[in-house]
């Protein structure tokens, strides 16, 4: 097995705020292998975006502080790198698509300006002005935008939400990154447009052989996009498995609750969901952070944090109830 492209080990991130210290990330660990599409699912505020921003080292510090953990990209720890080395990782190594394409694009520069800047700064070889222009047009054509020349000269406001997201995808892939981080790229879009964007992303990623981390709060979307899925809750990875395994045999009580709360096309009503709400990061629960909402919680869960443990194959779960055998794999 080749070395993983990205490997995060025991990442802890906290934010210092007026009220105290928000202990957000609590030992995140995940692996992305070359060419793999990894999904990261979790509800709002569970730390998905914080993890990704930490990989790119774009978390403002202060207030954020990485207290522990290593982030290996191509076997080099990003946290030990010098500023110019990190700058090389951003864009050329890893690029990111953000949730809101309207906020990600600068409204006062033309699409062409923004796209050529990205290409010029991240190109591995020196390109002529004409060459850059050509690359930009190709990138716009790749994301199936009609009339790329007109869009090149246009401004973000002249485009619809779906088209803006296509521009952001073009920008992220124009630098031919090894890893693409897509942070809820379709959340602000309608379902038919989402379908188009997901299909486009899948095609482009296949074509370029790019590895992907796909972040979403929707289990349905992750099922369409990922090979392997991690489930995140309150700053911890609670479960990780191959897609088919996760959807047919979820083990962690949180994953199960989430799965049952999704409205199904088969009908039959909606399950009760998960009682309670996501914890306060100022004073997170001790031990397993899910224990106040968990039906299987015991003293052990309150006292100690469960480690991500391999159950079978690549199926990993961080749960004492699974270890005790109270929740069984099918």
């Amino acid at each position: 097995m080749p070395a993983p492209l990205l490997k995060i080990e025991d990442l802890h991130v906290e934010f210092k705020v007026y009220e105290g210290v928000l202990r957000v990330l609590n030992g995140v660990q995940l692996i992305v292998n070359p060419g793999e599409r990894v999904g990261l699912v979790g509800e709002a505020g569970c730390g998905k975006t914080t993890t990704m921003k930490c990989i790119l080292q774009i978390l403002p510090s202060p207030p954020s502080r990485t207290t522990e953990g290593r982030i290996f990209f191509n076997e080099r720890d990003i946290r030990q790198m010098k500023a110019h080395e990190i700058q090389d990782v951003r864009g050329k190594g890893i690029s990111m698509i953000f949730q809101d394409p309207t906020a990600a694009l600068n409204p006062v520069f033309s699409i062409g300006d923004q796209l050529t800047t990205v290409i010029r700064c991240n190109s591995r070889t020196t390109l002529s002005k004409k060459g850059i222009h050509q690359r930009a047009i190709t990138a716009l054509r790749e994301v199936q935008l009609p009339d790329p020349n007109r869009i090149f000269d246009g401004y973000p406001i002249q485009l619809s939400g779906g088209m803006r997201q296509r521009v952001c995808i073009a920008m992220a892939l124009a630098t031919e990154p090894e890893l693409l981080i897509a942070d809820e790229p379709t959340t602000s879009l309608d379902v038919t447009i989402q379908d188009q964007i997901l299909r486009l992303l899948n095609e482009l990623v296949d074509e370029h052989g790019t590895s992907v981390i796909f972040i979403t709060h929707s289990l349905g979307v992750v099922r369409e996009m990922a090979d392997r899925v991690y489930v995140m809750y309150a700053g911890c990875i609670v479960e990780g498995a191959e897609k088919s395994e996760l959807f047919s045999d979820p083990l962690h009580p949180y994953t199960r609750g989430l799965m049952s709360a999704v409205p199904k096309l088969t009908g039959g009503g909606i399950a009760e969901g998960i009682p309670g709400r996501i914890p306060d990061y100022l004073d997170p629960p001790s031990g397993c952070r899910f224990h106040p909402r968990c039906p299987y919680a015991t003293e052990e869960c309150k006292a100690e944090r469960p480690e991500l443990t391999r159950i079978r194959g690549s199926h990993e779960v961080a749960c004492f109830a699974v270890e005790r055998g109270e929740i069984n794999a099918q």
């Binding site: 959807f247 409205p263 009908g267």
Partner: protein, 325 residues
């Protein structure tokens, strides 16, 4: 019709702007009976919220009639009698902006009680009662909205709507800003209230999977017009309009069984056009995978394909789609 709560006939709402006339709602008709949930589904810009706002009276209709329990109530909210305002309530999408941040929960919840003179005894007790009904602790009445989570805020908004004991509640995407685990709780609570209070809901959403579990009937809106209405089971078993099929096949699902229920993949293409320049003929023809000559010229009429299942499509009225589907 017996027990008919709301009947909307050929409702039109246009906005006149310098860029032209926005035909937000164009001849929309539907009715809601007692204890029924009508799901109004559409993409952003389809005019579903405009329908909601016109029914509650925030907008005056450009044309068309709104009958509430058989009486013509097409006037805007300023001219409506208080009893009508009491009977129709609305819950908005974003509880962060629909609750006044400078008021406490108590002040928010007692306003409808004051306006409609509903308090018999102690008003504080009434407010505590309302909070208990939405399963929030009574001491929440001294908090202000920003101290609550998104789900809890939406519970308060629902409690406010329930305070006047309405007949009809308009739910404008009440859970689309919330996480699924919280959505599940709110939806189950809404279903409980409907049974207890004999409520009718006009449920506006873009989430078809949610409607499968909640709605009695589902109506699909596209560019200000309703293109298909049917009872929920029939709607999902036998979708007829090409737009409905496109929507259904675009939904990301979590189960294999659901995958099988989706119609054969209709590749979605194009985007919803601007309601300022509505395409001539059938407004969907620009994105329709099965369009014919006639679709570009004439706007199709609503026809009843089977009992209670209405479709506005030339191919269905010409009986061709039945064979092709």
């Amino acid at each position: 019709m017996p027990n008919e709560i709301l009947n909307v006939v050929a409702l039109q709402k246009f906005f006149f702007t310098t860029q032209g006339t926005v035909r937000a709602v164009d001849r929309v008709s539907f009715s809601i009976t007692e204890n029924e949930t009508l799901g109004l589904v559409g993409e952003s810009g389809s005019g579903k919220s405009t329908v909601a706002y016109t029914v509650v009276g925030i907008y005056a209709p450009t044309d068309g009639k709104i009958y509430f329990r058989g009486e013509d109530r097409s006037q805007p909210v300023a001219k409506r009698p208080k009893s009508l305002k009491r009977a129709i309530q609305i819950v908005f999408q974003d509880p962060g902006t629909s609750l006044n941040p400078r008021r406490t929960i108590k002040q928010i919840l007692e306003l409808p009680l004051k306006v409609h003179h509903l308090t018999a005894g102690d008003r504080k007790l009434e407010v505590a009662n309302l909070l208990r009904r939405v399963e929030l602790p009574a001491d929440y009445m001294y908090k202000s909205p920003h101290m609550l989570g998104g789900g809890e805020r939406q519970m308060v908004a629902i409690a406010r709507a329930l305070a006047t004991e309405p007949k009809l509640i308009i739910l404008d995407e009440p859970t689309s800003a919330l996480d699924v685990s919280i959505q599940a709780k709110i939806i189950n609570m809404l279903i409980k209230f409907q049974e207890e209070m004999n409520l009718s809901y006009l449920f506006i959403t873009h989430d078809l999977s949610l409607m499968r579990n909640v709605a009695t009937r589902v109506a699909i809106m596209y560019l200000g017009k309703i293109c298909e209405v049917a009872y929920t089971a029939e709607f999902f078993r036998n979708p007829l309009h090409p737009y409905t099929k496109m929507l259904l096949s675009s939904i990301p699902v979590v189960l294999e069984e659901e995958e099988e229920l989706k119609p054969t993949k209709v590749i979605s293409k194009g985007e919803i056009p601007s309601p300022v320049n509505v395409p001539p003929g059938c407004s969907f023809h620009t994105r329709c995978p099965v369009r014919k000559e006639i679709c570009m010229q004439a706007d199709p009429e609503m026809v009843e394909a089977s009992e209670g299942h209405f479709v506005r499509c030339h191919l269905v009225s010409g009986q061709e789609a039945v064979a092709s589907s």
